[in-house]
C-alpha cells in the first residue's frame, strides 16, 4: 500500500496516457482492420448459418416448446413458409396446441380438410398473447404482400387485469422481450431501462437474435459460459457440462421436438376434459373480472396488429375463439358475450373477414380456451364450413411474393 518505492505514474498535467505493458492498444488503422473482420461476420453469420444448419419441418411442424423464445428461428421458418399456397396461422398456445401433439392441432386438422388446396402453417407460439404477438409480427414475421394470415383472437387475455397486463401490480410473464418496452406503457411491466433497451436492441439486430438461437437450440437456453456451469437440479447438484467441450454441442441441426412428449397428446395425463376432471361438472362457476374492451391493453394490441398486417398488405382472416363458455358462471356469461360481440362489431366495421365458431361441446375443452384433440378437429370442420371463411379462401392465391 504505502510502499516507499511506489511513485505516481503520471506527472502533473502531462498530456499522454500511461499504458501497462499488457494493455491492449490498437492504432486507428488496426481498429479499421479488426472491424473489417468483425462487421462482415456480424452481418453475414446469421445468413450463412441458414445454409449450414439443417432445419427439418414437416407438414404439421410447430416450433418445439423449448424453442418458444427463439424468434430468429421463427423468422427463418416464416421466411421459408410464406408462399402463396400457404396460410400462416398466427396465435398463442391455442394455435400452437398446448395439450395436443403436432398432428392434433387446429392447423393440422385444417390441412386435412384440404381447404381450397391451401396448406396451413402452424405459426402459433406457446405462451404468447396479443401484446407479444404484436411485437412478433412487427419484428420477426416477414410476410409478403398478399400473404394469407389466419389470426386467432383469444378472449382469455381480457378475463382479468392481470391477464390483460393492465394491473398496477408487478407481473412476470413470458415473451417480455416482445411487448412494447416504452410506449404504450404497461403498468405491470417493471423491467429497468437496461432490460428494456436490451430488448429493443436485440429485436432490431439479427445477429443478436442468431446468438440467442444458438443458445436456445444448443445450450439449454443459456449463454455458453452459463451452460458450462449448469447444474442438473439434483441435491447435491452435479455439473454435467463442466468438463465437456461446448463447441461439440453445436450439431448444426435444429433440435426437433421430442418424438414422445409425455405432457401432450391423447395418452398424456394432461390431455383431459376440464369437465371430466370433476365428475358431473357441466356448468361452470368461474367468474372472471372481465376488462372493458376500451380499457384493454391486449385488445388494443390486437387491433394495432391487425391494422399493421393489413397495412403491410397481408390478407387477414380473424377467428374469434374458441373460448370455453361452459366454465363461466351463468351471471358471468353476459360480460363475455358483450365483449365478443363488440369484437365482432369492430371487425365488421373494419371490413375484416372473420368467423366466430360456435362454442365446442364442454368435454372437448381442456381448460378455458384450449381444446383437446377432438375439439381441434371439430373446430377445423366448423372453421372450414363457415361461409365467410370459404369465401376468403376461395379467392385465388395472390401472385408471387413481393418483399
Amino acid at each position: 500500500m504505502a510502499h516507499p518505492a511506489s511513485e505516481s505514474n503520471h506527472a502533473p498535467g502531462t498530456s499522454d496516457l500511461v499504458f501497462s505493458p499488457s494493455d491492449l492498444r490498437l492504432t486507428g488503422r488496426q481498429w479499421l482492420l479488426a472491424l473489417a473482420l468483425v462487421i462482415p461476420f456480424i452481418c453475414l453469420a446469421p445468413r450463412v448459418w441458414t445454409w449450414i444448419e439443417r432445419f427439418d419441418t414437416g407438414p404439421d411442424y410447430r416450433l418445439p416448446y423449448a424453442l418458444s423464445r427463439d424468434y430468429w428461428l421463427y423468422e427463418r421458418r416464416l421466411t421459408r413458409e410464406t408462399v402463396p399456397s400457404q396460410v400462416i396461422v398466427l396465435g398463442d398456445s391455442v394455435v400452437w396446441g398446448e395439450y395436443v401433439r403436432p398432428d392434433g392441432t387446429w392447423p393440422a386438422f385444417l390441412n386435412r380438410t384440404n381447404a381450397a388446396g391451401y396448406h396451413f402453417v402452424n405459426a402459433g407460439v406457446n405462451g404468447l398473447f396479443p401484446l407479444a404477438l404484436e411485437g412478433l409480427v412487427d419484428h420477426h414475421a416477414p410476410l409478403p404482400r398478399g400473404q394469407k394470415v389466419l389470426l386467432q383472437c383469444n378472449l382469455l387475455w381480457m378475463t382479468s387485469p392481470q391477464a390483460d397486463l393492465s394491473s398496477e401490480k408487478e407481473e412476470h410473464f413470458n415473451h417480455a422481450r416482445l411487448v412494447p418496452q416504452f410506449s404504450p406503457r404497461l403498468p405491470c411491466y417493471r423491467a429497468d431501462a437496461t432490460e428494456r433497451l436490451g430488448a429493443v436492441v436485440q429485436r432490431s439486430v439479427p445477429f443478436l437474435g442468431w446468438v440467442n438461437h444458438l443458445q436456445d437450440a444448443y445450450f439449454q437456453q443459456k449463454s455458453l459460459p452459463g451452460w458450462t456451469l449448469a447444474d442438473d437440479g439434483g441435491d447435491p447438484p452435479k455439473y454435467p457440462n463442466a468438463q465437456r467441450n461446448p463447441l461439440a454441442q453445436i450439431t448444426r441441426q435444429v433440435p426437433p421436438a421430442p418424438l414422445v412428449d409425455p405432457d401432450r397428446g391423447p395418452d398424456s395425463p394432461r390431455h383431459r376434459s376440464w369437465s371430466g376432471q370433476t365428475p358431473g361438472r357441466t356448468n361452470g362457476t368461474t367468474r372472471f373480472e372481465w376488462v372493458p374492451l376500451v380499457a384493454s391493453q391486449q385488445w388494443a394490441a390486437f387491433q394495432r396488429m391487425v391494422e399493421k398486417l393489413r397495412t403491410r398488405g397481408a390478407d387477414v382472416f380473424v377467428v374469434v375463439g374458441p373460448f370455453n363458455e361452459h366454465l363461466l358462471a351463468e351471471d358471468n356469461r353476459p360480460a363475455f358475450r358483450s365483449r365478443r360481440d363488440d369484437i365482432v362489431a369492430w371487425l365488421s366495421r373494419q371490413q375484416i373477414p372473420h368467423a366466430v365458431p360456435a362454442t365446442l361441446p364442454s368435454e372437448l375443452y381442456a381448460d378455458a380456451s384450449h381444446p383437446l384433440t377432438a375439439g381441434y378437429e371439430l373446430l377445423a370442420q366448423r372453421t372450414v364450413a363457415d361461409p365467410e371463411f370459404r369465401r376468403w379462401l376461395g379467392t385465388a392465391p395472390a401472385p408471387g411474393p413481393s418483399r
Binding site: M1, A2, H10, P12, L37, T194, L197, V211, L224
Partner: protein, 533 residues
C-alpha cells in the same frame, strides 16, 4: 448506470457528440458537469445533494484557506491571535455566515422536526468550527473542517451500522443498559439509509484537493464548475481511479485536443475492460458465488479453486472497470492514471501494492503513511506506520471484521517480507516465477477474508481447505482455459517476447477474439464489485 449496459451506451451517444460540438465554446465544461451529475443521479437523484454538498464545502474551504496566511508567512503570527481572521473581507463573510448558520441549524437541532435533529446537530457543530476558523483565520481549522466533514459522511453512510452493532453487542456483554439506535433512524424525513455509490472514491478525491492545497502541493481552483467536474467526472466517479487535483484539474482548464489516437486508445481500453468484466469477471463470479454461498457443503478442491478464481474475478472486475473508465475519458481527450499494472506479476508484496489499485495505494501513501512518519524514523516505527496504513486500507474497503483482518494480514505480510525483499539473495537467486507464485498464494489466501460473508465463514473455508477431503470441484475447463490464456498473455507482456503481443497481427487478433467472444459468449450484466466500496 453501468458501463456495460445499453442505457450507458445511449448516454454516451448523447454526451460525446454534444461535448465535441461544444468545442470552442465555453459550454463544454458545464455540459461535462451536467452529464456527470445526470450519470450519478441516475442511480439515486437524492444522493446528488451529497456530492453537491461535498463539492461546495471543499471548494469554499479551500477559498477560505487561501485567505489565511500560510505557515512561515509574516501574517501567520497575526493569525494566531483571536479575531485575526476578521480582518479579511471573505473571512468576515464566512464568519458571519457560519455564526448565523450555527444559530439557525442549532435551533433546528433543538426545536426542529425530530428526524432532522441529529443531522442538524452535526451540521451545527461543523458550522461552529467554521466560525472559529474564520475568526482565527486558521488554515489548519479549515483543513480540519474538510477532514471532519468528508470522514463524517463516510463514517455515517458506510460504517455507522457496523459500529452501532458492535457497540451494542459490547454493551450487552457488559450488561450496560444502553442501546444505540440504528443509523437508519437518523436519516432525515425517513429517507432510505443506503450506501451512496462511489462515496469512498469521491470523498477521497475531494479530500486530496484540500490536503494538497493545505500542504502547498496544489493550486486553488477558482472555477466552481471545474472543481465540481473534478469531483464528479463521470468515468471515474463510481469506482475510481482516485485522481489527484494536480493531474485532473489542469486537464479541465481548456478543451482537450481532438486526436484520432484518443479514439483508438480509448476504444482499445474500453474493449479490454468490457472483456475483462463481461467475459471473465462475470463468468468467474457464478462459480465463486456458488462455492462461497455454502462453504460447509464444499470440498477442499472447490474451495481452493474458488478462492483462486476470486482473486482473478476481483482483478478482472475492478481493472475492467478502470480500463473502461480510462477508455471513455481518453475518447474525450482526458487522461486518467493507470490503476492496475499486472499485479499478479509482482515478485514481492510491496511491489504488488505498487501495481494494484494504484490510485488508492498512492493516496494512502501520501496522506496516511508519510504523514505518520513513513520510513524516516527507524524500522519499528516504519512497521507501525505500515500496519496502521494497511489497517485503514482494510477498513476503507468495507465495514466488516473480514476487511479489518484482510488489511491487517496485508500489513503483516508487508512488514514481515520487507527485509526479505531487500536481501540480495532473495532478489538475485530466487526465480521470479517462484516469487510470483508466493505473492499470488499469499494474496489469494487473504482474499478468503475479503470475499467470505463473515469471519466465521472465512475460518470455515480455511479449515475446510486444509482439512476436508477430495471431491470434484466442478470447475469448467473453459474457465480454466480463459484464465490460463490471460495469465500467459500477461506473462508474455513482461517477458523478452513482449514485442510479439505488440505486433499488428497479435493486436488485431486479440481485439477480434475479444469482440467475437463478447458477441457470442458473454454471460450478461452484473454490478461491479468495487461499487460497494
Amino acid at each position: 448506470m453501468l458501463f456495460h449496459t445499453w442505457p450507458f451506451a445511449l448516454f454516451l451517444l448523447v454526451v460525446l457528440p454534444v461535448f465535441f460540438a461544444l468545442r470552442g465554446t465555453r459550454f463544454w465544461l458545464p455540459w461535462l458537469t451536467a452529464a456527470s451529475y445526470f450519470f450519478y443521479g441516475w442511480w439515486n437523484p437524492y444522493y446528488l445533494l451529497l456530492v453537491a454538498y461535498s463539492t461546495l464545502l471543499d471548494y469554499a474551504l479551500v477559498a477560505f484557506m487561501d485567505h489565511c496566511p500560510k505557515a512561515g508567512d509574516p501574517g501567520e503570527v497575526r493569525a494566531r491571535s483571536l479575531g485575526a481572521g476578521l480582518a479579511d473581507p471573505l473571512l468576515r463573510i464566512a464568519f458571519g455566515g457560519s455564526v448565523l448558520a450555527t444559530a439557525a441549524i442549532g435551533a433546528l437541532a433543538v426545536w426542529g422536526p425530530p428526524t432532522l435533529r441529529p443531522a442538524c446537530a452535526g451540521a451545527g457543530l461543523l458550522m461552529a468550527l467554521m466560525a472559529l476558523g474564520a475568526w482565527l483565520g486558521s488554515r489548519r481549522i479549515w483543513l480540519l473542517v474538510s477532514l471532519i466533514n468528508n470522514l463524517a459522511l463516510l463514517l455515517f453512510f458506510k460504517y455507522a451500522r457496523f459500529l452501532v452493532e458492535n457497540l451494542n453487542a459490547l454493551f450487552t456483554t457488559w450488561h450496560w443498559p444502553v442501546s444505540l439506535p440504528d443509523p437508519a433512524a437518523l436519516m432525515p424525513f425517513g429517507a432510505a439509509y443506503l450506501l451512496p455509490v462511489g462515496i469512498s472514491f469521491f470523498t477521497f478525491q475531494s479530500l486530496s484537493y484540500t490536503i494538497d492545497f493545505y500542504l502547498g502541493r496544489g493550486e486553488r481552483e477558482r472555477n466552481l464548475l471545474r472543481f465540481a467536474t473534478f469531483v464528479c467526472f463521470f468515468p471515474q466517479l463510481m469506482a475510481g481511479p482516485i485522481e489527484r487535483a494536480r493531474n485532473l484539474l489542469p486537464q479541465f482548464r481548456q478543451f482537450p485536443p481532438i486526436q484520432s489516437r484518443n479514439f483508438s486508445d480509448g476504444a482499445s481500453l474500453f474493449l479490454a475492460g468490457l472483456f475483462k468484466k463481461l467475459a471473465l469477471a462475470n463468468y468467474l463470479s457464478v462459480y465463486v458465488d456458488r462455492v462461497y454461498e455454502h462453504p460447509q457443503d464444499q470440498g477442499a478442491p472447490a474451495l481452493l479453486l474458488a478462492t483462486l478464481a476470486f482473486g482473478w474475478q476481483i482483478y478482472f472486475d475492478f481493472s475492467g472497470y478502470t480500463d473502461m473508465a480510462r477508455g471513455i475519458a481518453r475518447v474525450m481527450g482526458f487522461n486518467l492514471i493507470l490503476n492496475f499494472n499486472a499485479p499478479y506479476l509482482a515478485t514481492s508484496l510491496g511491489e504488488f501494492w505498487t501495481r494494484w489499485h494504484i490510485g488508492l495505494s498512492s493516496w494512502f501513501r501520501d496522506y496516511v503513511y508519510i504523514p505518520l512518519g513513513g520510513n524516516r524514523a527507524g524500522p519499528w516505527k516504519t512497521y507501525r506506520n505500515l500496519l496502521i496504513t494497511f489497517l485503514i486500507s482494510g477498513i476503507w474497503h468495507g465495514a466488516a471484521w473480514t476487511f479489518v483482518i484482510w488489511g491487517l494480514l496485508h500489513g503483516l505480510g508487508v512488514v514481515i517480507t520487507r527485509e526479505l525483499e531487500r536481501a540480495a539473495f532473495y532478489r538475485n537467486h530466487i526465480p521470479a516465477a517462484l516469487k510470483q507464485a508466493a505473492v499470488f498464494a499469499f494474496v489469494s489466501f487473504t482474499w478468503v477474508f475479503f470475499r467470505a460473508e463473515s469471519l466465521t465463514d472465512a475460518l470455515l473455508i480455511l479449515r475446510r481447505i486444509f482439512a476436508s477431503g477430495w471431491s470434484d470441484p466442478h470447475i469448467p475447463l473453459l474457465m480454466l482455459a480463459l484464465i490460463a490464456l490471460f495469465w500467459a498473455y500477461e506473462q508474455l507482456s513482461a517477458s523478452r517476447f513482449q514485442a510479439w503481443i505488440h505486433t499488428a497481427p497479435a493486436r488485431i487478433g486479440t481485439a477480434v477474439f475479444m469482440m467475437l467472444y463478447l458477441l457470442l459468449g458473454s454471460s450478461g450484466g452484473g454490478a461491479f464489485i468495487y461499487f460497494q466500496f
